[in-house]
Subunit: 349 residues, 2 copies
DNA sequence: TGTTAGCACTCATCTCTTTCGAGTGCTAAC
DNA sequence: GTTAGCACTCGAAAGAGATGAGTGCTAACA
């Protein structure tokens, strides 16, 4: 079914208005803006049609109209005007992102912060699931009485570290580091098999006076550290922004939403199910009941042309779609670019 | 002015009741519990006295009474019954805290999580301000094309790392590491003076083919990394819990509070001004307007008998003081103990 | 003299009703 | 096809009781 151009313009006007006010939009309000040169009566008729066609909803007889999910979808697909990022915003973004602190995790966190700052909505990001990260270096540092810090640096620049109870002096620590480096560096989690671990354990056992249990413990940590790279981290930014929207003026609803945003499992699943590129989910298009009154827009970011994570913005259904899309697009480009510069050239990630 | 024992009992009953219900407490409610064996009329008279003396407040003529800040203060100082930590809670805490991952930052985060889990209120922690942390080890790891990861490990087990643009192969990286370690390890931030940095820069300049700007850049990072140990980190946990309390059923108030909790500067100042040991601030006793309807309880935790940070619980004025105090006390003991075991023995922190 | 029962009074809250007005649908005229 | 006009609808706001929890005061009681 095709919408006449006039109907499209009216639908667009209704949605634009509703995005600004969060109040049902009446025919007179549209007519008054005088962009169409039509009287309220005419617009009324058109709006009645649009309602019948499923693009608009009337909350009650004497109220104006509110866009339906279908209406938003049509808006997003066909009507929405491109949002132009301001030069200042763009420059600021480049400045922040190009800051010399540029570890993977930090980049993602900054990207998320940026998205929530630009859009003023809640942002959710998943951080890379790097199945093929390699161990670059393992370092043992004696911290003194019975404690040693294990530091693992991976090819993705991710660092895992923790201290374990292990009585080594500086010399022993560096000797043990040497063994571990020789045996482990360059491997991925998959390649560090149980057999391999046993083998390494045996070598250490022969050369050092360390209890087998401690060795196992230490190697376990190493394994877990690499293995844990497989798990997706999630960061939420600016969750409190939902309290600014009349959609959540009911504290119960706000709490429900915040609880949802607190549950990492939900979020991983949510972002995991999104499509690559700019993906828009309006209201009930989201698989989670809790988001049935919200919309979510996501973009992926990649390394080696492979999606490794997503940035998502969650806001009321009447969100400023154009702006959010433009912002996310920009951000994902920046992230891709920085990740490329950092790791891609090397090609071993 | 002394309170008769009966008045004290009535005040206690009123506060205990109010803590549970968040509704003004009437004389009949107290009388019905029959713990005092008095009629509502008698209690009414006593409550009128208590109001006159400033311990209770009547929101309006025909309402029950609500404790005033003075009332809460008296309750906390004199009436409150000791809260007994349950054996399960204690065991669980010990298990979690004793987990082998025990770096300083992680310990603090865990302590905070624990506090918010136990009390179900919002928790705020400041993490150590370690002015005298020493550099244990500096490591440069080549990440490939033009990037090097700098890792700094301090005596407090804190790790700082970031990648900088620097074209070194593995051999050069380890040579440079050697120079840096020789010159810098063992120093504190204060001892790493500008002169020293220049000196080191000169040595590197002579032995390596690295642009001076890059050297400065790198040494700057090292300096900032140690220096930044002087800044207090703040973590907030379970901020959303405030939405569960009728005190914040007004979304505007809730938003205000969440905004306050989002501002790290506020929180550093807030916790910084607390007294050592268990410190209780009721309502307007807090220096921040935003907390005038809340109470905050803090404990410090220490290393070498020196306070290095605080854990605070923020909740409605009618919070379960006894339970929060018991929980925080327990947690700070655990933290102190773990910190002692980890670092204190060494004595160089 | 301290305690209690009883009663008139207060006032927030709930419910019911009324009013108001934004917005509609329909009709008739242009 | 468009528009002016008008009756109609119905949620939200405002007003009017009714309700009841809780008080203060008084007088009687132990």
């Amino acid at each position: 079914m095709e919408l006449s151009e006039r109907k499209q313009k009216i639908l667009q006007a209704v949605i634009d208005e509703y995005i600004g006010t969060a109040e049902p939009v009446g025919s007179r309000a549209i007519s008054k803006k005088n962009e169409l040169g039509l009287s309220s009566a005419t617009i009324r008729n058109e709006m009645a049609d649009l309602e019948e066609m499923g693009f608009l909803i009337q909350p009650h007889t004497s109220a104006g109209r509110v866009p339906s999910d279908v209406g938003y979808r049509f808006y997003v697909n066909s009507l929405m005007r491109r949002y132009q990022m301001s030069v200042e915003a763009l420059e600021k973004m480049q400045a922040i992102m190009a800051d010399r602190v540029n570890q993977l995790e930090l980049i993602i966190k900054k990207a998320s912060l940026m998205a929530s700052t630009l859009t003023e909505y809640t942002t959710v990001v998943t951080s890379p699931k790097l199945t093929s990260a390699r161990i670059k270096k393992i370092e043992l540092v004696s911290l003194g009485f019975g404690n040693v810090m294990i530091v693992i640096i991976t090819s993705a620049g991710i660092i895992k570290n923790q201290s374990v109870e292990l009585n080594l002096n500086d010399v022993e620590a560096s000797q043990l580091s040497e063994v571990l480096n020789r045996r482990i560096s360059g491997l991925t989690a998959e390649e560090l098999t149980l057999d391999k671990i046993k083998e390494i354990g045996k070598e250490i056992d022969e050369s050092f006076n360390i209890a087998p249990k401690v060795i196992i413990n230490m190697l376990n940590f190493v394994y877990e550290a690499i293995d844990s790279l497989d798990y997706t981290e999630v960061y939420v930014n600016n969750a409190k922004s939902i309290l600014s929207y009349p959609e959540f003026s009911d504290v119960g609803k706000a709490r429900e939403m915040l609880a949802f945003l607190d549950n990492k499992d939900n979020l991983v699943k949510l972002l995991g199910s999104a499509k690559d590129g700019v993906d828009i989910r309006i209201g009930a298009e989201n698989e989670f009941e809790e988001l049935s009154n919200s919309s979510m827009i996501t973009v992926n970011y990649s390394m080696n042309d492979k999606t490794i994570g997503r940035i998502g913005v969650i806001g009321p259904k009447r969100m400023n779609y154009a702006k959010v899309i433009a912002s996310l697009d920009c951000i994902s480009n920046q992230v891709d670019k920085i990740l490329y510069e950092l790791y891609n050239k090397e090609g071993d990630v």
